[in-house]
Symmetry: C2
Subunit: 329 residues, 2 copies
DNA sequence: CTGAAAGCGCTTACAG
DNA sequence: CTGAAAGCGCTTACAG
C-alpha cells in the first residue's frame, strides 16, 4: 500500500479514504492527516484493489444479469438501464444470455454465483417460476425485469394495460377481426399483452377465436412465420397485433410478399416503440414502454433487497403511439 | 476452507483441484488423496472464491469490453462472441458503453482498469488512435474489434473489400450515380466501406463527387436524415449505399415518404446482414460480416497477447448478399 | 507425496 | 486521533 508514504499506517489511510465526507473523516483523523492522505492518494492515483476489498468485506459489489439475448434491442436497452444505475452506485454488472433455455439459465446463474455476485437480475423469467422458486429457497436474492413471475419481486411494464390500449385503438379504428402474434407462451409479456387485447376486444363485443392467437419467437423471423400461419386461413384478419416490434416488421414483410397493403388491407401494431418503429417505410403504431427506466428501477430494487428491504412488484405505465400502420382504411 | 474435511491441508486441496488431469495431480498427491479431495469438493459444491484467487495470483480472469452502444445489434452480436469465447476459457467480461464520446471512453476504461481487468477489447476505436496510443504507452494490453486503428492489434472485417463488392454489384446492375451514407468519419468501418465503394466505381469509370458522400450516425434516424440531405439536390442518385443496415432502413423510410420506390426509382444497399435485412417488406441487399466470429477471435487474440504473444491485425472476409432492394430496374 | 508458513491488499475490531 | 494485529480465502515456494 503505497499510500502510507503519507507517514501513517494503512489503517488510517483506509479510514480516511472510506469516509464519505471530510467531516465524517474528522471522527478518525486530524485535519492535517486527512489532507495529507488525500493528497498522496490522488498523486499516486491510488485505487483500492476490489478483490482485496471484496475478500475482506465479503461484498463483491457485483451484480449478475441474465437475459434471453443481448442481441435483442429491448433487453439490451433494459440492460443499459441496469448498468447505468449500477455504475452510479459503485456496482459492476456481469451479463449473460440464457436463450430462454432452462439448462443455460441454470448454468449461467451458477457461474454468476461462483463469481460471487451479490444479487441477480433476470430478464428471462418463465411464468411458471419453478427455477426461480428453487433459487429463492436457497436464499439467493434477485429481481425480475421485463417479465414477471408470481411471488417474485419485479419491475415490468403494465402489459395488460398495454394490450388493452392496442385492442381499444383497433376497435376505435374499425377493426374487429384481429390476429395476435402472441410470442412465447411462457413469457408474462406475451401472456399479458395478449390478454389485454383480448379483454378490450371482448368489451367491444368481439370474441377472438383460438386460431387468431398464434405463438412464436419475438423476432422478425418469428413474426413472419406466425403471419404466414395466420394467412393460411380465410378470411384474413383486419389487423395484426404483433406483441413485439421486430415481429411486426417480419409480419409486414410477409404481408407485402402476398401483396397485402398496410394499413389498407391489414393494419399492424407492434410493441415497445423500438428506435426503428418510427423510421420504417410504413411507420409502425406501437406501445411505448420505458425500457431503460425498467432496468434502472430493477437495479434499485435489487439494492434495496440486498439491504434487507422488502419489495413490491412495480408496474410501469405503457403508452400508445399511433402511426401510419393503423391509419383508418 | 471446508474442503480440508478430507483430512488434508488446504495446500494439498489446492494442488489437487488445480491440476488439469488426474495424471497431472499424481505429481502432487496419492491416488487415494486425489479421490478423497475430489469427492469432498464435489459433495460440498466447493467453488474457489475468485476474489481470493485473484488477490493471490494477481490475475482477475476478467476482461473489459467497451463498445459505442450495446443497443446496436452489430456490437451486441460481437459482444456475444467475445463473452462466449471468454466463458469457454474461464474468463468473465465487464462491458460498458462509450457512446463514441472520448471522455466516456476514458472514464469507462479507467473504471475497468480499477476493477483489475487483465486486458481490454475496444469496439469503439477512433481511427486517429490518440487515446489508444496513450493507453498502449502505459502498458495496458488491448485488442480492437469491428473498427481498426493504425498500429494496434485488431480483428475486423475487410471493409475495403466489402465496399468494393457493393460498388461492383451496383455497377453490374446498371447504377453509376451512387450516394454513400458513410457513417461517422472517425470509424474505420465508415472510412473503409466508403473507400471500397469509391474504388469500385472509379474502376468502372465513375468519379463520385464529394456531395454524394454524406456522414452521420449508423442508425435508422441517421440514415433517414442523411438521405434527406441527399434528396435536396437534383438529380437523385440511382442507388444509395448505406454503410449500415439500420441506416438503410431509415433511408428506405425517407424514400418512401417522397414516394420513391425501392428498387424501382432508387436501389438501396446496407451492410452487416442484420437479422432484419431478409425480413423487411423490401428485402435488403447487404454485406454479410462475421460479427460473432469477430468477437470470438478478438478475445482469443487478447488472450494470446496476455500470454506474451504478438498479434497481427486480422481481416475477416465479407460477402455480398443480393436481395430485392437492388433488383435490376 | 504432504505440511507449515508466508503473503496477496485490504478493513475492522481492539487498545491506547 | 492513531497504531498493531488479525483475518478474509486462496496459492506457492520451501522443507521434509
Amino acid at each position: 500500500m503505497v499510500a502510507d508514504e503519507a507517514g501513517v499506517t494503512p489503517s488510517t489511510v483506509s479510514r480516511v479514504l472510506n469516509s464519505a465526507s471530510d467531516t465524517a473523516a474528522r471522527r478518525w483523523a486530524s485535519a492535517e492527516t486527512i489532507r495529507r492522505v488525500r493528497e498522496v492518494a490522488a498523486r499516486y492515483g491510488y485505487r483500492p484493489n476490489p478483490q482485496a476489498v471484496g475478500l475482506r468485506t465479503r461484498r463483491s459489489r457485483l451484480i449478475g444479469v441474465v437475459v434471453p439475448r443481448l442481441q435483442d434491442y429491448v433487453l439490451a436497452t433494459i440492460y443499459e438501464g441496469i448498468d447505468e444505475a449500477a455504475t452510479e452506485r459503485g456496482y459492476g454488472t456481469l451479463v449473460t444470455n440464457s436463450l430462454d433455455d432452462a439448462r443455460k439459465q441454470a448454468v449461467a446463474t451458477e457461474m454468476l454465483l461462483d463469481r460471487r455476485v451479490e444479487g441477480l437480475i433476470f430478464g428471462d423469467a418463465h411464468f411458471d417460476g419453478a427455477f426461480l422458486d428453487k433459487l429463492a429457497g436457497r436464499g439467493v436474492r434477485f429481481v425480475l425485469v421485463s417479465r414477471r413471475a408470481p411471488g417474485h419481486p419485479s419491475v415490468t411494464v403494465d402489459d395488460l394495460m398495454g394490450g388493452r390500449l392496442v385492442g381499444e385503438h383497433l376497435v376505435a379504428t374499425g377493426r374487429r377481426d384481429v390476429a395476435i402474434l402472441a410470442g412465447e407462451p411462457y413469457a408474462s409479456t406475451a401472456i399479458d399483452r395478449t390478454q389485454g387485447a383480448v379483454d378490450a376486444l371482448r368489451a367491444a363485443g368481439v370474441d377472438l377465436p383460438a386460431h387468431r392467437i398464434v405463438h412464436g419467437p419475438f423476432d422478425a423471423q418469428g413474426g413472419r412465420a406466425a403471419v404466414e400461419r395466420v394467412l393460411e386461413r380465410r378470411p384474413f384478419p383486419e389487423a395484426i397485433f404483433a406483441t413485439n416490434d421486430f415481429a411486426a416488421i417480419g409480419a409486414m414483410g410477409a404481408l407485402r410478399d402476398r401483396n397485402l397493403r398496410v394499413p389498407g388491407d391489414i393494419a399492424v401494431v407492434g410493441y415497445n416503440d423500438t428506435a426503428l418503429a418510427a423510421e420504417l417505410p410504413t411507420s409502425l403504431t406501437t406501445v411505448r414502454s420505458p425500457m431503460r427506466e425498467m432496468g434502472r428501477q430493477g437495479l434499485r430494487m435489487l439494492l434495496d433487497i440486498l439491504q434487507g428491504g422488502a419489495a413490491e412488484p412495480v408496474l410501469l405505465p405503457p403508452s400508445l403511439v399511433i402511426r401510419e400502420s393503423t391509419a383508418a382504411s
